[in-house]
Symmetry: C2
Subunit: 122 residues, 2 copies
């Protein structure tokens, strides 16, 4: 992010005590859809396989149906793909993110205007 | 949060590499405005004084002007109040939160509908 970038908004949806959908889980689902692999999706995010799998287990347990289905075989423990539920969860999360960004762009600009033009490197 | 509660949305505004405004900093500012004390505001959030102070320092450094001003004396290291900048930051953050919630209520409802009616306790 350069200092000319506009602010970015992240959303975290608390769906139940102890369970939320945030950018980590959404990016992981997106990575699995793209790579067909939990390990590869996690690696792209700098996340251990163990951590990636624990996020998927949390989603699989939280929703009516699993969000990811896996198959055995292959060099990294088998392939993975989003289920219909997983694809829906990801789509809705992205809709939430986009709508929230659009609705708050002016406010976020106001907040950015309260910062100095030339920040020191921190 | 009971299982009848609707989903809640938290927003995190990345304003600069390494600096964001999220619910923790906003709630801390609100607590300081309410209690007049950094220690009391932190305590209400289950946050150490050290942690509360580090969040305030991060905000004081990030914005054009400090967000909190402190005075010496008193049993807990002096009083604290929001500056004009601090009050503006808090107000804008709350505006962002409210607008984001309004813009995404329907989507968040769709996401909640993908969960079982009677979740196990987790």
């Amino acid at each position: 992010m350069s200092m000319n970038d506009s602010p970015t908004l992240q959303v975290r949806i608390k769906l139940r005590p102890g369970f939320h959908m945030g950018p980590g889980k959404a990016n992981l689902l997106e990575g699995i859809a793209r790579t067909g692999s939990i390990a590869a999706a996690g690696r792209d995010m700098g996340m251990s396989y163990r951590r990636a799998w624990s996020l998927i287990e949390a989603m699989n347990a939280a929703f009516r149906a699993p969000v990811v289905s896996t198959s055995r075989g292959g060099s990294e423990g088998g392939g993975a793909r989003l289920t219909e539920t997983g694809a829906q969860v990801l789509k809705i999360y992205r809709d939430v993110q986009r709508r929230a960004e659009q609705a708050t762009a002016a406010d976020c600009g106001e907040l950015a205007a309260l910062m100095p033009e030339n920040p020191g490197e921190t």
